[in-house]
């Protein structure tokens, strides 16, 4: 396919009529202070904000977890009432899934993916900001319920008809249904944006099979989001219509089938599991080769198995419903598909082990978190395969064994990988490394606390302790292990306090000058985000990098000599770009945050008073109007720095022929 079409700037009006394209209102300038963050469209700032807000919700979700554990510390706990317990465990799950792990993955996706593919930003910078603010307002909206009559109490899976007005008369489930709707729109906007970015904006020479594995996994996740979110959207719409407009979708008296909700929820919910874990798989696929000083074992196999998980993830949802009376054929079919999906996951585990095998391992903090993902996720994966055996699953359903399983994959898997990513990319984002010694304390305390918390749940689960119950009796014999679990949960808290101390101390040390600023390539890494300075300059790349290989940056540093032995031929910090160019960037904008603010108002109005919805709608439409009249790049923003005082080619050791040849060569493949 010949590349003939141009890549226009986003939503920019190319009519040349400046009186029209200037926009209806003044636009923010690149000011400092809070404005620089609230109105930014820079994918790096947006990524950092995703991470910061997600860590705030992580704190809050952790408090909820500790409340649960305080309640279950002794038999017949009295910390919470049954109603409060229902609300707390519902919001613990909802918060951790939708407000912590998904946005943390979005933080890395936003920050790292454009850098790994050699792009200056995502395809639609303002849509990116819109996604961030929708997520922020969705999270606030969801948690407003605590102050307006109590949180949602139907579990994060919200099974009908428990969530109907009859059984959940408070407004909590309304906040759940509408809040997740807002967060869902945020994810959908982000997913489309990243898909377009990865498919369309790769640097010359970066074919799909030269893309870093992290970018690959993020691409798979965005496709999963693209197709899974509309299904939960429909389920939540049905629930909202039932609660707000007295529709009958889950009204059993009218002949409703509660299984409809379960199917819709889990058709979304199982791809969601892979949405949560695949970003972390991508992160460790970056860190393990770097810290093993070996290429990733079986790059294409890892990529293909990641894509295979993405496809097969659609065919296993009913294993969440084995006890709902699917019938033997359905149960057998979903048992088989569930066993099959363990294969590509196992392939990845073996590839990571083979990557480390015989490598020159460096036990840095990101490496330790990566190894703990491989080992802890394997435990969770093994208990997961046990669930594919339907008779065993029937025994284990709704017990703490299930709770243990999904915490091993989500905490031991997804979160460990995300922590690895934080320590690994921290210098790229902020210019300095987090303390390695405090990081090791963080890691070991967290690992011990994690296993203390979730390991014993396997035991009490198999002994029959049911989940979602606010109490157990002294005669049940669960007290010893529950005490251990609660102590473990507080050990996790200590680990996270160490992490917080690490962040603050490293930042203060960097400010005071005792912690050095890192050069471009502090880890001797493999991918091109390390070929630009730390912290990343505002414009990312001075020049479009031309890619000739998988792990391109590594091959620029290491080449085999005449005997075939690998020799270091260049220092990464010296060959990296200097970050001294100042290209024209997308301009900041008020409209994403204004548009995003309209949606929670509309949702509040649906619960309380439609006039509030009207205000929200005005805000929404006004922002759409302002947005569409405003060009993506301010025509008045300074172009002066593009004078003749520097010629970019003088910084480039080669002419342009290489680049053009690469485009032509790559075109049929890409």
């Amino acid at each position: 396919m010949a590349i003939t079409e141009e890549r226009p700037e986003i939503l920019e009006l190319e009519s040349g009529d400046t009186s029209f394209s200037t926009g209806a209102f003044a636009r923010p300038t690149n000011a400092s202070g809070w404005r620089a963050w609230f109105f930014t469209v820079d994918h790096k700032k947006i990524g950092i904000m995703y991470g910061a807000v997600a860590m705030f919700w992580f704190l809050w979700g952790g408090v909820e977890a500790l409340l649960i554990r305080a309640q279950l510390f002794t038999p017949n706990g009295t910390v919470l009432t049954a109603e409060q317990y229902n609300q707390i465990f519902t919001m613990h799950g909802t918060t951790m899934v939708f407000l912590v792990i998904m946005p943390l993955a979005a933080a890395f996706a936003n920050y790292i993916v454009p850098l790994q593919i050699g792009a200056r930003d995502v395809a639609f910078p303002r849509m990116n900001a819109l996604g961030l603010w929708l997520f922020v307002f969705g999270g606030i909206f969801l948690n407003l319920s605590w102050f307006l009559g109590g949180g949602p109490d139907g579990g994060w899976f919200a099974y009908a008809p428990n969530t109907g007005v009859t059984f959940s008369p408070g407004a909590g489930m309304d906040f759940y249904a509408l809040g997740l709707q807002i967060a869902g729109i945020a994810s959908l906007v982000g997913a489309i944006n990243l898909i377009v970015t990865v498919l369309n904006m790769r640097a010359p020479g970066m074919t799909m099979l030269r893309m870093p594995v992290f970018t690959w996994m993020i691409l798979v996740v965005q496709f999963l989001l693209l197709f899974a979110l509309p299904v939960i959207t429909v389920a939540l719409i049905l629930l909202s219509f039932d609660r707000t407009f007295d529709a009958n979708f889950f009204n059993v008296a009218m002949g409703a089938d509660p299984l409809l909700w379960q199917h819709l929820f889990w058709i979304f919910g199982h791809p969601e599991v892979y949405i949560l874990i695949l970003p972390s798989f991508g992160i460790v696929s970056e860190t393990l080769p770097v810290f093993s000083r070996k290429p990733l074992f079986g790059y294409s196999v890892i990529v293909i198995s990641g894509a295979a998980i993405g496809f097969m993830g659609w065919g296993v949802w009913a294993h969440h419903m084995f006890v709902s009376g699917l019938g033997p054929v359905g149960v057998a079919a979903f048992s088989a598909t569930t066993m099959f999906i363990a294969v590509p996951t196992g392939v990845k585990i073996l590839n990571w082990i083979a990557t480390m095998w015989g490598g020159n391992l460096r036990f840095t903090v990101p490496m330790m978190f990566s190894i703990s993902l491989v080992s802890m996720f394997t435990i969770g994966g093994l208990s997961g395969v046990m669930h594919s055996v339907a008779p065993a699953d029937t025994q284990q359903t709704d017990t703490y064994f299930i709770v243990a399983h999904f915490h091993y994959v989500l905490f031991g898997g997804a979160l460990m990988g995300l922590f690895a990513g934080m320590y690994y990319w921290w210098p790229k984002a902020f210019g300095y490394k987090l303390s390695e010694s405090l990081g090791k304390w963080h890691f070991w305390i967290l690992l011990v606390g994690f296993n203390m918390t979730f390991g014993p749940m396997h035991i009490v689960g198999l002994q029959g302790m049911a989940r979602r119950h606010s109490r157990y009796g002294p005669e049940d014999g669960f007290d010893f292990w529950n005490a251990v679990v609660t102590i473990g949960a507080f050990v996790i808290l200590i680990g996270m306090i160490v992490f917080a101390v690490n962040i603050v101390r490293s930042w203060l040390g960097y400010k005071a000058g005792t912690i050095p600023q890192e050069p471009a390539d502090p880890w001797d890494a493999r991918t091109i985000e390390w070929a630009i300075p730390c912290p990343t300059p505002e414009h990312n790349f001075d020049y479009v990098p031309v890619i000739t290989d998988i792990d391109d940056f590594w091959h620029k540093k290491y080449q085999p000599d005449e005997n075939g032995k690998l020799r270091k031929i260049a220092d990464g910090n010296e060959i990296a770009q200097k970050g001294d160019q100042s290209p024209h960037l997308p301009s900041p904008s008020y409209w994403p945050i204004v548009l995003a603010a309209g949606l929670p108002l509309i949702a509040l109005g649906l619960i309380y008073n439609l006039w509030v919805s009207g205000i929200g709608l005005v805000l929404l439409l006004g922002a759409m109007f302002g947005w569409s009249l405003e060009p993506a790049t301010d025509p008045n923003a300074g172009h002066d720095d593009h004078g003749d005082d520097h010629d970019p080619d003088t910084n480039a050791p080669d002419g342009d022929e290489g680049g053009d040849a690469e485009v032509a060569e790559e075109a049929p493949v890409g």
Binding site: R7, V196, P230, A247, F249, L264, Y543, V546, G659
Partner: protein
């Protein structure tokens, strides 16, 4: 993967092609970002309608102890809906004509066909409003029974999609009339056409599955 020997090792730094602000880079797929965006969105929308249609098929004949009133299927006026479906399908033809004419820089024709498409879509929406009100008069409200909730939700969502399409078409007509969109931006019309055709195709499915299958 490039052969090791082919790599020019004298050229180690990243920096060969200038970022050029004024000359846009070609995309990897050869499609513009906007077009890929619309395709991705339509893919997502397929699942939205898929879930809504499945819900309707599951619930349309369900009865419980409290069920009363007619089902939606009892009240269908197939000839009437066939006519409005035909109108909607014809609007796809006029949409194609609008895209073709702007690609040929025939702006007056483009305006005519944009307006015709919007008008045909409006006739379809008017038909839906008429259908809903007559159903309501015959005793089928949104909350009457489970099939009515499912029917109004499914067809209502499609109606909202068509209405948004009409808004986009009228906006395009205004912009083309005002000269802000010329032949060089024919792709904008083409992308809205993609959306319009999608909405039509979804209606074919809804009409066949919901109205015609007994």
């Amino acid at each position: 993967m490039a052969d090791i020997d082919e790599i020019d090792t004298s050229n180690l730094a990243y920096g060969r092609t200038e970022w050029d602000d004024h000359h846009h880079l070609p995309t990897n797929t050869g499609l513009t970002n906007e077009k890929v965006t619309m395709w991705a969105f339509l893919g997502s929308d397929c699942l939205l309608f898929g879930a809504l249609i499945s819900t309707y098929l599951l619930l349309r004949n369900r009865v419980g102890p409290a069920t009363s009133g007619p089902t939606a299927a009892d009240l269908f006026d197939i000839p009437f809906t066939s006519v409005s479906s035909f109108v909607l399908l014809m609007s796809s033809l006029t949409m194609v004509l609008a895209v073709t004419s702007i690609q040929r820089a025939e702006m007056d024709r483009c305006k005519l066909w944009l307006l015709t498409t919007a008008a045909l879509g409006s006739i379809f929406i008017a038909g839906q409003v008429y259908e809903f009100t007559s159903f309501y008069r015959e005793g089928l409200g949104f909350t009457t029974n489970i099939s009515s909730s499912a029917f109004y939700t499914l067809t209502g969502f499609h109606g909202v999609h068509v209405s948004l399409g009409i808004v986009m078409l009228v906006t395009m007509w205004v912009l083309v009339s005002g000269g802000q969109i010329g032949p060089e931006r024919a792709e904008t019309i083409e992308i809205i056409g993609l959306y319009w055709h999608f909405v039509d195709i979804v209606w074919i499915v809804i009409f066949a599955v919901v109205y015609l299958i007994p």
